[in-house]
């Protein structure tokens, strides 16, 4: 039987949409870990808040989608700053596991607040991406996939450039590599922490809008953050490039397995990849290998 290359191409292109969502959410994990060494398990819930803010600005207040996107991203950034200042900063110096547990608590609080403010019912975001399908050659691609992938790629590229060339980005990198040295160079380390959480909150809110546009919104949508955690571990907890490559790898693997083996094999394939990468490269494909000297 001839292999259907057109179908394979369509599946591969569709996989890039999922890759983009995973990578953008993973980026929020990486931004926080890179600067503060905190694994923030509340990222999924921060993403959820971004999606709900967009819902309120569009469906509730009738703002145009572009305005709602900007306000939601600002809201996400403010949420990130608020969490950092009120909950995370007082925990500085505590054991990593304590901070980790606190982020789980923050996630639960955000879910509770969402249920109180917006209710527990799942709902759909107003359509703001249009419905006309896109064809690349003969291959069909969903419009949301194209938009999601373009946005994620642009945002990741922006952060890569910022970390490389922008003064604040350099301060983030310096703080990540050695906090004491960064202090002695005059870098305001607490402000850098806040900045990292704000960027992560903004990225998560943007990711939330895209995830919500595809899958709808519900107080349970934060579970998507855990899927992105796999991508981050595969790519490397402190690598922005790693998150992009990890996202594409996981997205493609899931799509090909789901299509040719069946949807029940998706998780199996993803977690097999995770174990394989951790066995070969315990810090992820692009993560920094930390050497501790006694």
């Amino acid at each position: 039987m001839d292999f259907d290359w057109l179908f394979f191409t369509e599946v591969t292109l569709a996989a890039l949409g999922n890759s983009a969502l995973l990578a953008l959410t993973g980026l929020a994990f990486v931004l926080i870990y890179k600067a503060t060494r905190v694994v923030n398990l509340a990222i999924g819930e921060m993403l959820m808040i971004g999606a709900y803010l967009f819902f309120s600005f569009t469906a509730g207040m009738g703002l145009p989608p572009w305005g709602a996107v900007i306000l939601s991203i600002i809201g996400g950034a403010l949420l990130g700053a608020a969490i950092e200042r009120s909950v995370i900063r007082p925990m500085l110096g505590e054991a990593a596991i304590s901070v980790f547990m606190v982020t789980i608590g923050v996630g639960s609080v955000l879910i509770g607040l969402t249920e109180l403010i917006w209710g527990a019912e799942p709902t759909a975001l107003p359509d703001f991406m249009g419905k006309t399908p896109i064809f690349i050659g003969d291959a069909y691609v969903s419009r949301k996939v194209v938009i999601g992938f373009s946005v994620a790629a642009a945002v990741i590229a922006l952060f890569l450039l910022a970390f490389r060339f922008w003064r604040g980005g350099v301060a983030l990198r310096a703080t990540a590599s050695d906090q004491a040295a960064a202090y002695s160079c005059g870098i305001n380390v607490p402000a850098v922490f806040s900045l990292a959480w704000m960027f992560a909150g903004a990225a998560a809110a943007g990711g939330g809008i895209l995830v919500g546009a595809v899958g709808g919104i519900a107080p349970t949508m934060g579970v998507f953050g855990l899927s992105a955690l796999v991508v981050v571990i595969v790519g490397g907890l402190d690598s922005i490039v790693g998150v992009l490559i990890g996202g594409i790898l996981v997205g493609l693997l899931e799509a090909w397995c789901g299509t040719y083996l069946g949807g029940e094999y998706k998780m199996l394939a993803t977690f097999s990849l995770l174990m394989l990468v951790l066995l070969v490269r315990p810090y992820g494909l692009f993560g920094t290998v930390e050497i501790e000297r006694l």
Partner: protein, 391 residues
């Protein structure tokens, strides 16, 4: 007075605990007691809140009318966050505090976990939010029942509708890779064959799937006349429907009970137009025929009530009808007698909650109706008569 962070936290926790504990209704020795492990928070909260209100309202209607044989009905419930261990903890707590006669369970997992305890106690009749086919076995689950058709019977109703509307139609199933999602799939495939329909594809989605673009491509290849979803509430149904329309796919989409709430689809809007599914109950706004209970509900609550509300309301009605019949027969209120009273229901009038008289020969009510979402009217409208299937 200034307050430090620890004092403020203690105060907040204290206030939260006070609200959480609530005020318990006073309990007399001869009260008929309905207990409940209710998911008022967590992933199933959207349904739990409606179920809770439905049970409360029916209990109020009965008490306002003087109770059952002069005995007041009390409803005791606590939040479980839809976690089976929490549901068990609530069950143990409530049954140790009161003489519970009837119990509402929040999940299949809890219904299965607590079954041995129900068998041991023999004092409680239980029903709940689960429509799992496995529970429709009166030998294995003698003190439980389902307030509607089980999931296999729901598929049966949908497939009978399809076989009548378009004989020989091509069918695809899309289900989540969960116990809930897998429930009716194997039996459904058998039914497709038996009804002379053609199975073209079974698509499985992981429980956390958001983007389903690749699954939609598979569906396009299969090109079914009808696609039946199971194991979801809302997502990823709208995305399937919206992309299928973009691709020009003519398939009609169908779902089962938990995907059938009208307010869910109203928020989806135009892409929801034409979505069909099986409903064991009438909708809040249905006015056809005689429906005194729906009228009563509309008087009590002028705003739309969900399908989960209807489920809770009907479950309470069946609970208390069983209690009434048991007391009328001058029998003790225990699990065995309550279940026998429930099974004695023959052509029982639910006051319009279900559009036809019902009988419960086993553990389920094997009847339902196909509704279709009309985006212009923003309403689920009836698309078939009530369909009875094998009990």
């Amino acid at each position: 007075m200034t307050m430090n962070r620890r004092e403020a936290l203690t105060l907040a926790l204290g206030a939260g605990a006070a609200i959480g504990l609530g005020i318990r209704p006073s309990l007399a020795a001869d009260d008929i007691v309905i207990g409940g492990s209710i998911p008022l928070s967590g992933v199933f909260a959207f349904a739990g809140i409606g179920i809770h209100a439905g049970i409360q309202d029916y209990v109020k209607i009965v008490n306002d009318a003087g109770g059952i044989a002069g005995r007041k009905v009390t409803y005791l419930a606590e939040d479980t966050a839809y976690k089976a261990d929490q549901s068990v903890a609530v069950f143990n707590k409530l049954t140790s505090q009161a003489n519970i006669n009837l119990y509402y369970s929040d999940s299949t997992a809890f219904a299965k976990t607590i079954n041995a305890e129900l068998d041991r106690k023999k004092t409680i009749l239980m029903a709940g939010a689960s429509f799992a086919s496995e529970l429709n076995d009166s030998k294995k689950y003698p003190f439980q029942f389902i307030s509607g058709p089980d999931y296999t019977q729901m598929f049966d109703i949908l497939l009978q509708y399809v076989a009548k509307t378009k004989p020989g139609a091509k069918i695809a199933f899309v289900h989540s890779d969960t116990e809930f999602g897998r429930d009716p799939i194997a039996a459904g495939q058998e039914k497709v064959k038996a009804l002379g329909l053609k199975m073209t594809e079974v698509i499985v989605t992981p429980p956390t799937a958001v983007d389903v673009s690749t699954e939609i491509l598979k569906l396009r290849r299969a090109n079914p006349d009808y696609t039946i979803f199971h194991g979801y509430v809302l997502a990823p149904l709208p995305e399937f429907m919206s992309q299928a329309k973009q691709m020009g796919l003519a398939t009609k989409f169908m779902g089962t009970f938990w995907s059938m709430d009208n307010s869910l689809w109203t928020k989806v809007g135009e892409p929801a137009d034409g979505f069909m599914g099986v409903m064991p109950y009438r909708y809040y706004y249905d006015t056809e025929g005689k429906s005194p209970m729906l009228e009563k509900i509309r008087q009590m609550r002028p705003e739309y009530q969900s399908t989960a509300y209807m489920q809770g309301f009907l479950t309470a009605m069946l609970f208390l009808e069983s209690a009434k019949r048991t007391l009328e027969a001058k029998q003790e209120l225990n699990g065995t007698n309550l279940k026998a009273a429930l099974n004695s229901l023959k052509d029982f009038d639910t006051g319009g909650i279900i559009g036809v008289p019902i009988s419960i020969p086993g553990n389920s009510i094997p009847v339902g109706r196909v509704y279709r979402y009309d985006a212009a009217k923003k309403l689920m409208v009836a698309d078939s008569d009530w369909i009875k299937v094998g009990g």
